[in-house]
């Protein structure tokens, strides 16, 4: 369905012409959409196209990008991880408790701690799904409420507030020693690592294989269970990282941290062209998907659409993205014949 390697692109151009080949790239489609949106919004609100505003958008989508990349890997294996938001909530609370008790602790330790705790939670998901043979949507729906319940049990309903957190922890996400905020740099690094992992390592390719045809993958000697387990563990790991950044950015850990965030990560993946039936999805697409969501949110504020209508506009745009995608695919199928 999607064209990926250069010879296939050349063949496609010969057969379908430039325009349809371009459109068949999911990334090009979203890119075009983003471009139109940027031009339209800039005409209405010139302050949109400034470096400051762009930096603001990047800062807002960093955490979403990190978790959406993890979600993407899970969805590529034809699974879903609904528990990411609760993992973020639980890890953010636990790390904030530890940081409050040990304000002298180097920041890198809190990052590592968050990733370790997240991995344990992800491991639990992975075990239920692979060894327990529970469908992913059920398993993670269950842990969604289990982990959220643990947040309440852990903190007894209390919050960690800004004054209880040391300055170096708060600077972790917002400091700009390298020009860009640290959080943006971390998100870019994660994206590069995931890009390399999915495209150039054997395990990464196995993830696609398991998602596009589980039986064939099994016959090809891929350990399906192990790959499935791995993606849920990675999902926990990256959620743990996101949790530390979340606590640092918002300078607090609350019992309802990241509540409902799981659906945003799925939305970013799906808008970015990741197929919910598995096997299809690229890092570039997800980055563009997250960027699109960020730009929409930002521009709706700039062109003064009432904040109360913004959620509706976001939902509508998600629908438009998936419907137009379907429409383009069916047109492409027709031109092929």
């Amino acid at each position: 369905m999607t064209v990926q390697n250069p010879p296939a692109i050349r063949r496609s151009i010969a057969r379908n012409g430039w325009l349809w080949t371009l459109i068949r790239f999911r990334e090009a489609g979203i890119g075009l959409f983003i471009l139109i949106l940027v031009i339209a919004v800039t005409l209405r609100a010139p302050s949109f196209l400034t470096i400051d505003n762009f930096e603001d958008i990047l800062l807002n989508i960093s955490i979403l990008t990190i978790v959406a990349l993890a979600q993407t890997m899970v969805i590529i294996t034809h699974g879903i991880d609904l528990s990411v938001s609760s993992m973020i909530g639980l890890v953010a609370m636990m790390v904030a408790f530890v940081v409050k008790q040990n304000p002298e602790m180097p920041v890198i330790f809190s990052v590592l701690l968050g990733m370790a705790l997240g991995s344990v939670l992800g491991t639990f998901n992975g075990l239920i799904i692979t060894f327990g043979k529970v469908p992913p949507i059920i398993a993670t729906l269950g842990t969604l409420s289990i982990y959220r319940g643990l947040v309440f049990f852990y903190s007894q309903g209390t919050w960690i507030n800004s004054f209880e957190l040391p300055a170096n922890f708060k600077a972790l996400s917002k400091g700009t020693p390298l020009g860009l905020p640290n959080m943006v740099i971390i998100a870019i690094l994660v994206a590069i690592v995931v890009y390399y992992f999915l495209n150039y390592t054997r395990t990464g390719r196995d993830i696609y294989a398991v998602g596009s045809n589980p039986d064939a993958a099994q016959f090809a000697g891929i350990r399906k269970q192990r790959i499935t387990f791995l993606v849920y563990m990675i999902s926990g790991l990256l959620s743990g990282l996101a949790a530390v950044l979340w606590a640092s950015r918002f300078e607090s850990a609350q019992t309802n941290t990241a509540l409902g965030f799981e659906l945003q990560t799925v939305a970013a993946s799906v808008v970015g062209g990741v197929s919910i039936s598995g096997g299809v999805g690229t890092v570039t697409g997800v980055l563009l998907g997250a960027l699109l969501l960020g730009i929409i949110q930002n521009s709706l504020t700039l062109i003064r659409i009432s904040p109360f209508w913004q959620l509706a506009a976001q939902g509508l745009l998600i629908l438009i993205a998936v419907i137009s995608d379907k429409w383009i695919l069916s047109r492409v199928e027709r031109t092929k014949k």
Partner: protein, 375 residues
């Protein structure tokens, strides 16, 4: 011998997927009995822990807390049996209730406003149905989009306002009791509708088609069954029931805010799946879903009496959901591996994983103790 057994089990599996007409009691399959046992256990446990558990007034009040979930659950059983899902129900509920509230605030007669809310909710269901059945988009993606879209519309309608001051006659929908008894109106309504939905599912061709779609959609389509129309109908029904549940919730609260019912979709799906309906479609009974709703209700009520916070109760409900799928599978696995051998590597891995979880919980309690004790 072995082969024969395999064939026998396969055909019996097929039979259970297409249950023949049976008496009411025969509908009780293994899972339904299990739920009944759990309900009895829960009642006994709670009776021993709290003297207020069997208080009729308490039970009456708490049962109406679950009726909105129950009303949305009925069409959700249909949808999940066809192998689809509807994540947008709670948002649709918010949209319809907010629309009604908006009209009420502008002085429209409450019953006209309620009718308009029902209409909008039904339209919402039709949009889902159109996108899933005709455009053939994945149900998860469509209803995820409308999940945000409908909730957004709810916020658009009411913003930070609330609608209140509903007339008493309308509040009866959510707060009234049937003819001076302690049975809440919404509970009576739910029971009637549950029987109706159960009859449709288990006693009509329409119901049989739902199982057929869930088992093999292509085969059903090639048998000349209008799959798209059936899917459209059940999503429309889901939208209507969500709107209806929204009205009842608004009547019970006596007010409407745009965030009304947020997160209920997960409670609905939990009730359906715990009731033994296969998330992949094709299997499940209405009775199981209703029993699981009562089980969840009783457990939450009991835990509430023991002063356990609502969110912490989620730990128990979530575990129950996972265990309900996990345990039958594990039991089957253990009984199918006759000559079980200990592999040292597997044991070591298991011990390692166990150690990690133990370490996690030690850390969990250790890091918590200092802050909680310190205040």
């Amino acid at each position: 011998m072995k082969e024969q057994g395999a064939i026998g089990s396969k055909s019996s599996a097929l039979l259970s997927e297409f249950p023949p007409r049976r008496s009411f009691l025969a509908n009780f399959q293994r899972w339904e009995w299990m739920l009944v046992a759990l309900i009895i256990l829960d009642i006994l446990f709670n009776m021993s822990r709290s003297p207020h558990f069997l208080d009729a007034r308490n039970l009456s009040r708490t049962s109406s807390d679950f009726m909105e979930i129950g009303l949305m659950m009925l069409p959700m059983v249909f949808i999940i049996i066809t192998g689809n899902i509807d994540l947008s129900v709670a948002s649709n509920m918010g949209m319809s209730a907010s629309f009604m509230g908006l009209l009420h605030n502008q002085g429209v007669n409450i019953w006209v406003a309620a009718l308009a809310g029902l209409l909008l909710g039904t339209l919402g269901g039709m949009l889902n149905g159109y996108l899933v059945a005709r455009v053939k988009l994945p149900a998860l993606v469509v209803t995820l989009g409308t999940y945000a879209f409908y909730r957004g519309i709810a916020y658009g309608f009411l913003g930070d306002q609330a609608a209140r001051g509903y007339p008493e006659a309308f509040k009866y929908l959510g707060q009234g009791k049937v003819f001076g008894t302690l049975v809440p109106f919404s509970v009576a309504l739910f029971i009637v509708l549950a029987i109706l939905f159960g009859l449709v599912l288990h006693r009509t061709t329409f119901g049989r088609y739902l199982y057929a779609i869930g088992n093999n959609e292509n085969a059903t389509l090639y048998s000349g069954i209008p799959v798209a129309r059936i899917k459209f109908i059940i999503y429309t029904l889901s939208g209507f029931m969500a709107a209806f549940a929204g009205l009842i919730l608004a009547a019970r609260f006596g007010s409407t805010r745009p965030d009304i019912g947020t997160g209920l979709e997960l409670a609905v799906i939990t009730a359906v799946v715990l009731g033994g309906v296969d998330i992949n479609g094709g299997k499940g009974t209405m009775l199981g879903a209703v029993l699981s709703l009562f089980l969840i209700g009783l457990m939450r009520f009991g835990m509430g009496l023991l002063n356990i916070q609502g969110q912490v109760q989620g730990i128990v409900i979530g575990s129950l959901l996972i265990l309900s799928i996990l345990l039958p599978g594990v039991a089957q696995q253990i009984s199918s591996t006759r000559n079980f051998q200990f592999q040292s590597r597997a044991v070591l891995t298991a011990l390692g994983v166990l150690a990690v979880f133990v370490a996690f919980f030690l850390f969990f309690f250790w890091s918590r103790a200092a802050v909680i004790a310190g205040g």
